[in-house]
Amino acid sequence: MPVLKYVDISIKKIYSVLFRIILVIYSILILVRNENIFPTYYYVFGIILYIIIFKLLYFKKGIFSYLRLLNDYLFFVLILWDKPINDFFNLCLLFLPLIFSTNHSTSEKRASFSIGLFIITVITLFVLNGFAFEWTYLIAVFVIMLINLLTYLRTYVLRIYNDLHDSIDVFYQNDFNIFSNNKILNSILTKIKNDKKVLKFFLVPDNILVFKIKNEELRLANSAKFISTFKIEDEKTLISNIKESKIITNTAIIIDDKKYEKTISTLIENGKTSYVFLITAETKIFCILYIAKLLDPLFSKVIKVLEVEERLHDEKNRYLDNIKSKTQFVLSTIQAVHFLNNALTPITSYFSLTKRYDELTDEGMRNDILKLIESERVRARASLSSILERFDLIMERSLNPYIVQGMFVFSLFKIFANVRKVWDYNDMNKDWFLSKWDKEILSKTLSTNIDSFEYIIEEILLNIKAHSTGEYQVLFDYEDLPLIIFKNRIKSFDKNKTNLLRIIKNFNNDDSSEMDKRKSYGLTFIKQFLVQLNMNYEAKLESDFFILVLKFNLIKNEDSNIREPMVQS
């Protein structure tokens, strides 16, 4: 339970007790001030019974709040019976619950309770007034009830507002898990949907989508409910209109082949970055401005969470780039050892021949060996120079290889969302992000390291961008297992074909270290990570397209080898 709500409930509990103490003391004062029709012990017994019943009903919700109210007014009837009701001191007892009504009962006050309070006060007045209505009292009670109703509405809106903001606090306290901010949106969506009192008359939301405006395009940053694809027919117009008016209604959007026409979109700006929150609704949306005013501060907070995650993503990339350079160094060091052993041969050969020349006595052999020594001296000098260059290169860097740390169970939802996130992050064309994965496939699980997987995707997309003619796509497909197929039309294909074929041959080779000796660093790392993540892969050429297929080994239902699986969707 959020702290503010907990404090509020605790205070109300104390108020409830204090209020009854005041009632009892005030009642005793009335008894002292007036002549009483019943014997004293009647009143003593009445006070004790009132306190016992109150104790039994103390802070119970629902019907018990009405029973508490009934207990209060039965007690008032006992105290005020046969006493002058037009006496201001006596009359005040009946009005005390009306005045204290916002505080004196359950944690969640209902409008119906205010009306119930009005009715029981009127009935009590009627009874105590000798079963006759006194209109001046009725008007006073009615006015107080109206004030109570308005106060109720105000506190209700404040409570809803606090509840929605609590979603973010609760996320940080309980659910904080980097790159799962959809939980905040989902919590907000659920809270709005579950409100059956006020909000339901204005808005019944189906989903909340957050878009980042990037290069005059909407990039999906997150959504309360998972979505595979979306299409806004006139995206450019929406962006230009929302920048002017901040709020747009009923922009049609197709989400996973379902069209939504009842929508509300609000623009949230954070520095130079602009976001669009789009709420799809099941029914017509009313009081658009009220809804927007209520949600905008909340959405601004959500943006902060998104931006924290984006910054963490940047940091992670920087870290991985650093690791990558170190891993490259390890590979180049291995290559360097091999290079040195080859390059040293003319030098070791030169000294070996020189030594043997001194030992030989046969003049003919000595002459032949001398010729070899002279030619080898030139080669040795050239080798020495290239060896020194390579040493300089090695000394410039430090060493620290990267190994995948820890595998956890994730659903393909997470895989899909991560690829899309990296795709958008790299400003890839969203029209070429295609998926055949349905919800059944998306809910399947696999064991992987999500950071390493994301690194693989980063590398693949960077390679695509570096070598593409601009025509590329990613397709989420399914054969015997789920696949991701990256397709890229290679620029200067004819010139690069031989090199590509060599890279593909080595990439598809089962031996993970087989690429170490080749200069194809991007794919070398991709391959090393894929092997560690237990993923199948294949590279191939189709015409001038470079195709890379990643295949996921899923966790089977009967697989019981996974200890304490932590499914993160």
Partner: protein, 124 residues
Amino acid sequence: MKIAIFENQWSNLKATFEALNIIHFNKSAVYDLFETSQSFGDINNIVNYNFVLVDLDLSPKSDMDGYDILKKLIENNTPMNKIFILTGHVNVNDKLKEKNLPSFNIIKKPITLESLESSFGLTK
């Protein structure tokens, strides 16, 4: 004496092998050099050689690398004492095990006249 050499950096080794030829074989040894696996042709012709030296790293143009050539030689029942690995790599034996290949005679680079003599069982 005929020696088949699968090597793509022959220029680095040539002088030492020629010195070996001058000192021990009276220039009668023939070194047949193959930079790629396909340039050798029919593997059955290996019987025409007294020794086979295989560098594990061949030219990228080569259809087979050194390990594949070793596999072919074993399939061809080439005597193990005829086969030598030429390599600048470390942990070659581990790599051979990974690839289900037996141990071979290894001539480590950088080579010297002495290391060649020792490998071929020749004395000064």
